[in-house]
Subunit: 318 residues, 2 copies
DNA sequence: CTGAAAGCGCTAACAT
DNA sequence: ATGTTAGCGCTTTCAG
């Protein structure tokens, strides 16, 4: 074939907008170039940014991202069947892991490449996480600098890994500062959880001057709780939330928060998954069965940073 | 083959968890059983519920839903190529339509089954919408009953169909009530848009006693604006937003809003799209090129309802 | 170094 | 009725 003809064919193909047929390609190469991603209910706005990072990166690397909302665990088996058993995806990002989630065992058994994003699975060696501990330190240092010493924590569900890690970090920070880290109440990640936790905190420890919440939504709930009790924010009670979102700037008062590298987390999860898929031998690098971070675990380098707004201020004298 | 053998094969298949390979099936039947859905940035929480309805229904009808975020229009061509030209999807739900969106022409030309959800395209005959006009009436009737007569509207971008329909409905309601519908300011659907619009409204018409915003996010922004101006909500200014979300109950004060049938919209969009795909002859029912609602357009039967909370109250005497 | 052919897993049309 | 076969569009291997 003359180079001239070759040129003409390529040009023609481009002009006609030719694109290889995905299904035929997938069938022949037994690789779909589709990545699955399982996320908790998207009402939790934290995940929309993670998802966006994942979409962007997948597209850059010529993969398509197939999102699935992990609403109720009873549907997990169905989701698994639909995505994995029919060969629709080459790998899966699980951002909704919980201890005992039926999917975790199924994945390991099936040998599909997969990573856990944000919610780590101990010992899996497949975790992609943010530096949550640093995020806690940033928040508590900010409160400390404002003079707060009676700081409480409205934590997330303790069986959810990032919630537990933040609670642990909260305790460690207090120990480092010679303070008693007893003011911890657990609730869900939503506004309702934050509101109820704040109410309980203020009932049990009325001299609390600041609350650190494990999510922005909980922060909103905590502000609401303070309002219902008639406590001024931040004059009487300071509130700071983990994870920032655009909304936070428009609350009354605007919520001080810790900005987390959510977009980067999505990007990194996709990269880690593709590495596994393209790894020569293994269908996903095997995890060492030790507890704690295994060899393959990854922590995003971008560190959480403080976004100071109106919901935190100097500690009051009570 | 004896029925007994048949039985054994079926049982064995089930026990082994056999599932037909999606790519092979797609190739042979030239139908992927995948639906695409294009949505505006998911930071807009309105779409998370629509998406959930769509996911649920697609799954029920044995389709997989492939979500794509329509972030910038320059990526539209790329998205189109990736989803449509490679034959990855059987049809597309477009929830991010704007006049002149490059995708609209491409879709018509290509002949792919598609519907427009929430953001209608005039004359397409493929629109699945909510009864936004009724939503406006519900909001304004509520304010009227509280004694408000100087009501302003913080509208969405006028080139976005639901924003325009709500603005039109706002004007019609005022005409029906013999009031001057002049207090309309346009902004984007986000908190910032609501805040800026509210500020401008109060600057131009200082005697305004109530604001109806075209989204919940704008409502949040409007509350924020009132707070910065030192206007009490609802004692001095009532605020009501279109579309409800769980967050609204935890704002300070809790935001009165109009609950829209978002989940149902997602469900109906999927049903409409699948009908088109399964329609015998046409690759999507042809649209009549008339202006206004065309034959194939659909309005969700569930009507918007009022959720009264703390951000609306009796009109003050100024 | 160019060109033909086999086959991925499935299903629809065919021959028994 | 049951069983066989061709071929969807692509890629990879093998023959020329």
């Amino acid at each position: 074939m003359r180079p001239e003809l070759r040129e003409r064919v390529i040009t023609a193909a481009r002009e006609l907008g030719y694109r290889p047929h995905a299904a035929a390609r997938a069938l022949r190469r037994s690789q779909t170039s589709v990545l699955g991603m399982l996320v908790p209910p998207l009402l939790n706005p934290v995940y929309t940014l993670i998802v966006r990072g994942a979409f962007r990166r997948a597209s850059q690397r010529d993969f398509t991202l197939l999102l699935a909302e992990d609403i109720e665990e009873q549907h997990a088996e169905e989701t698994f069947a639909q995505l994995v058993l029919t060969g629709r995806i080459d790998g899966l990002i699980v951002a909704s892991a919980r201890p005992g989630h039926p999917l975790i065992a199924r994945l390991a058994e099936h040998g599909l490449p997969h990573v856990f994003a944000n919610r780590a699975v101990a010992g899996s060696g497949r975790n992609v996480m943010m530096d949550d501990e640093h995020g806690v330190d940033v928040a508590l240092d900010h409160l400390y600098a404002l003079g707060h010493r009676a700081i409480a924590h409205a934590g997330g569900p303790s069986d959810l890994d990032p919630a537990r890690r933040r609670t642990d970090a909260f305790r460690r920070w207090h120990e480092r500062h010679g303070l008693e880290p007893s003011r911890v109440v657990e609730g869900d990640f939503l506004e309702s959880g934050g509101s109820e936790a704040a109410l309980e905190i203020l009932r049990r420890w009325p001299d609390t001057t600041a609350i650190y919440t494990s999510s922005a939504s909980q922060g909103i709930g905590a502000i609401h709780a303070a309002w219902t009790l008639g406590l001024a924010v931040p004059a009487r009670l300071s509130i700071i939330g983990a994870a920032d979102m655009p909304l936070a700037a428009y609350l009354v008062p605007p919520l001080t928060s810790v900005e987390m590298p959510l977009f980067e987390l999505g990007v990194a999860a996709v990269d880690a998954l593709i590495s596994q898929i393209e790894a020569p031998g293994a269908p996903g690098a095997p995890a060492s069965p030790t507890d704690g971070p295994a060899a393959g675990d990854l922590v995003i380098e971008t560190r959480p940073t403080l976004v100071a707004r109106g919901s935190t201020g100097p500690a009051p004298r009570l």
